[in-house]
């Protein structure tokens, strides 16, 4: 009985020591299987768990990196789970920024590259030759570049397709244009009007469209803004006034309102509208192709070029962006870290990731080697759209606020019918409040 107090005291001491020594470790050769004397140790965090197809692809890529650079570098991958709203992984990064425990290489979601660079969490990669850069899609280089310095290289790319139901369009007698001559906003309205009676008879809508909370809305619909010749923020990412609340953007938000008012889309989300053959069109990520092929094979799927404003100048405007690798400011071995970033975002890793998750690769060579992108017309259309017209989301350190604001205005104007100008101005105020940190 006398020993009990002693035991409990020991336990409490133990509890406190464990809590305080949880972090900061130095790894010596031999500590980790495969890490040998003479090799430079590179730690890396990725945003997923190991037991997923994505995690397995990363693990394999790291293993092949270690094989290839045996004797020079050893990369040690750590898997950190992420929840739907992006928490978990980014919380861990934030906490490590404070405690100084960042690894050498991390994954960053494309739109966050700017904020991470502006706050010194990541550092520019070691110089890449033009040949090395030329391996990657233009949108990948563009996404990873801040102030003309390359910070990140994409593990994968992505795109949003304007999917259509071939049999419905055939019934309505509508021809789909080629990728360089997309339908304009007004042409698209005419098409929706023409299709509406058919869809009414199927108890559906011409368009399966929602404005979900989170990153999806800006990712799906920013092209409406871009092809109309405007943006959500200035090129340097530090001015919202005159951009976010421009007259041109107001036109776009009102266009969305028109889609709801004319009942071309449902104001409340209807599950699987397109997948059940009750919608003619749908904007969705590239993953939709695989979903339709696997689960809704009776839908005759086509990919139309993403629609453009009547004032489109032919410039880049379609959605892109995904997770990328970057070297943290903490790494003292930028050459090694860059080597690892290049490998993880390279052709082989991209193909591996495609095989496991069907996500679009970030390098030209990967597309050439994966026959699906040549043989399957839908995948081919998505790739060509990405290659020729892909444009990264706004590059600004206050990106999260811009993204939230865009979705809010869309919802307030299109769904609730509020005044576009007022809502845009309110958003500019909110974005400006966040920008203060970078402009003072």
């Amino acid at each position: 009985m006398k020993k009990l107090p002693l035991f409990m005291t020991a336990l409490s001491v133990l509890a406190s020591t464990v809590s305080f020594t949880g972090c900061s470790k130095t790894v010596k050769p031999g500590d980790v299987p495969g890490y040998d004397e003479g090799e430079q140790y590179l730690s890396m965090w990725v945003h997923t768990i190991e037991d997923t197809p994505e995690g397995e692809a990363y693990k394999k890529s790291v293993d092949s990196f270690n094989e290839k650079f045996n004797g020079t570098y050893f990369a040690d991958i750590e898997f950190i789970p992420r929840n739907d709203s992006g928490g978990g992984y980014s919380d861990k990064i934030n906490a490590s920024v404070m405690s100084g425990d960042l690894p050498d290489v991390i994954t960053v979601d494309g739109p966050n590259v700017s904020a991470y660079a502006a706050n010194g969490i990541i550092q520019p990669l070691a110089e890449l030759s033009d040949e090395e850069k030329g391996v990657y899609l233009d949108s990948i280089i563009e996404q990873g570049t801040v102030d003309e310095k390359l910070y990140a290289l994409g593990a994968m790319e992505s795109s949003v397709g304007l999917y259509y139901n071939k049999s419905i369009l055939a019934e309505a007698g509508i021809e789909v244009p080629d990728k360089d001559n997309p339908w304009t906003f007004s042409e698209f309205l005419d098409i929706l009007e023409k299709i509406k009676p058919i869809m009414d008879s199927k108890n559906g809508y011409p368009l399966d469209m929602t404005f979900p909370v989170g990153e999806a809305s800006i990712y799906y619909y920013a092209p409406f803004i871009w092809s109309n010749g405007c943006d959500l923020i200035s090129d340097d990412g530090l001015t919202a006034d005159g951009y976010f609340n421009s007259d041109k953007n107001a036109e776009v938000f009102k266009y969305f309102r028109g889609l709801v008012e004319k009942k071309y889309m449902s104001a409340t989300p209807v599950e699987k509208l397109f997948e059940s053959g009750r919608a003619a069109f749908k904007f969705d990520g590239a993953w939709e192709v695989n979903t339709i092929y696997q689960s809704y094979s009776d839908i005759d799927l086509g990919v139309a070029p993403y629609i453009v404003s009547d004032n489109w100048d032919g410039g880049r405007y379609t959605p892109t962006g995904s997770w990328a690798y970057a070297a943290t400011s903490k790494t003292e071995n930028i050459d090694g870290a860059t080597e690892l970033v290049k490998w993880m975002s390279g052709v082989e890793s991209g193909i591996l990731l495609y095989e496991n998750t069907k996500s679009m690769p970030s390098t030209y060579a990967a597309y050439e080697q994966i026959t699906t992108f040549e043989e399957d017309e839908n995948y081919k259309a998505l790739y060509e759209q990405l290659r020729d017209y892909g444009r990264p989301r706004p590059k600004t350190p206050v990106y999260p606020q811009v993204s939230t604001s865009f979705q809010q205005v869309l919802e307030d104007v299109a769904l609730s019918g509020r005044n576009a100008e007022d809502e845009m101005d309110k958003s500019v105020e909110r974005i400006n409040a966040k920008l203060k940190r970078y402009t003072r």
């Binding site: 107090p5 104001a267 809010q408």
Partner: protein, 299 residues
């Protein structure tokens, strides 16, 4: 000597809890208070400045925080009466039921043990435009309702779901209270030919009073902390109609990385809830005292 060894033993038992509470509760609380006076930004802690009360003035000027505040108050105003009375009603019913008593207890308690995220997803299906609820309504010739997708209906819809989810817990508490009431009181009342209503009013309610206060306060605090349901079901929308204070704190701190501002929000929120709880306690205590006095006079 015995006392001393007892106190050592006590400390030994208390020690681990104290250490963990210090690390995970007290230190974060103090840090939150300190951060609330700074512009601490999660991505760049090195640039932290002391900004005095600037965060607090920003919050009170922020339209979104005000919206979130009033939404939260609306949630509380719907949930607290519904859930408290609902729990009491269910407890009374189950107390009377003689067949399948355990079945009803379990059936009403099951939503409590289910994860809020799961329950929220389930109700998204129920509330969906082509979900079961709208299908039932259409059978009665009522038009399809937007529920969580309409700015006017989203908040009450979520509040109703939360009541359904949480009511079982308070029901069990009331049930315990009901069973602890001395049956002799009811027997005495029956001898006086008291009506069912007067038995409820003069015996059941006064005997349950302390529990009512407890349930009232805990449900209020719980309702103020509303975040999971709107986060899963509506993302705070449509048009911020279900955006709550805790949701705002979460978004500010983790999505926009403004820890300083989020800490200030948390402080404001805590102070508000504490004040409200004190008021509630005083109000309910006052009545209790009066009740006691009345009893004394009657004697």
């Amino acid at each position: 000597m015995k006392n001393k060894s007892n106190s050592i033993l006590g400390m030994a038992f208390f020690g681990p809890a104290l250490v963990l509470m210090t690390i995970f509760l007290f230190i974060p609380m103090i840090l939150t208070l300190i951060y609330s006076f700074t512009d601490y930004f999660a991505l760049n802690p090195k640039l932290t400045h002391f900004v005095g009360l600037e965060n607090f003035s920003t919050i009170f000027k922020d339209e979104l925080f005000t919206t979130a505040f009033f939404n939260t108050v609306k949630f509380v105003l719907i949930i607290v009466p519904l859930q408290t009375l609902g729990a009491l009603g269910l407890a009374l019913l189950i107390n009377k039921v003689t067949v399948c008593k355990r079945y009803f207890k379990v059936a009403f308690f099951i939503p409590v043990v289910m994860s809020l995220a799961v329950v929220s997803n389930l109700w998204m299906q129920i509330y969906s435009p082509e979900g079961i609820l709208n299908t039932i309504l259409s059978n009665f010739g009522i038009d399809s309702q937007p529920f969580i997708y309409g700015a006017d209906q989203a908040l009450p819809s979520i509040a109703f779901m939360s009541v359904w989810q949480g009511v079982g817990y308070q029901m069990i508490i009331f049930l315990g209270g009901l069973q602890a009431i001395n049956p002799a009181l009811y027997e005495a009342a029956e001898m006086d030919h008291a009506s069912a209503w007067s038995k409820f009013k003069d015996i059941t309610l006064p005997e349950l009073k302390p529990l009512c206060v407890f349930v009232f306060i805990t449900v209020t605090i719980g309702a103020f902390r509303m975040i999971v349901q709107p986060m899963v079901m509506t993302g705070g929308g449509p048009s911020h109609s279900t955006y709550t204070i805790v949701y705002d704190i979460y978004e500010t701190g983790t999505v926009n990385w403004e820890i300083g501002l989020a800490s200030a929000m948390a402080i404001v929120f805590t102070v508000f809830v504490v004040i409200l709880t004190i008021i509630q306690t005083i109000l309910t205590k006052d009545k209790e005292d009066k009740h006691e006095n009345k009893k004394a006079k009657d004697l």
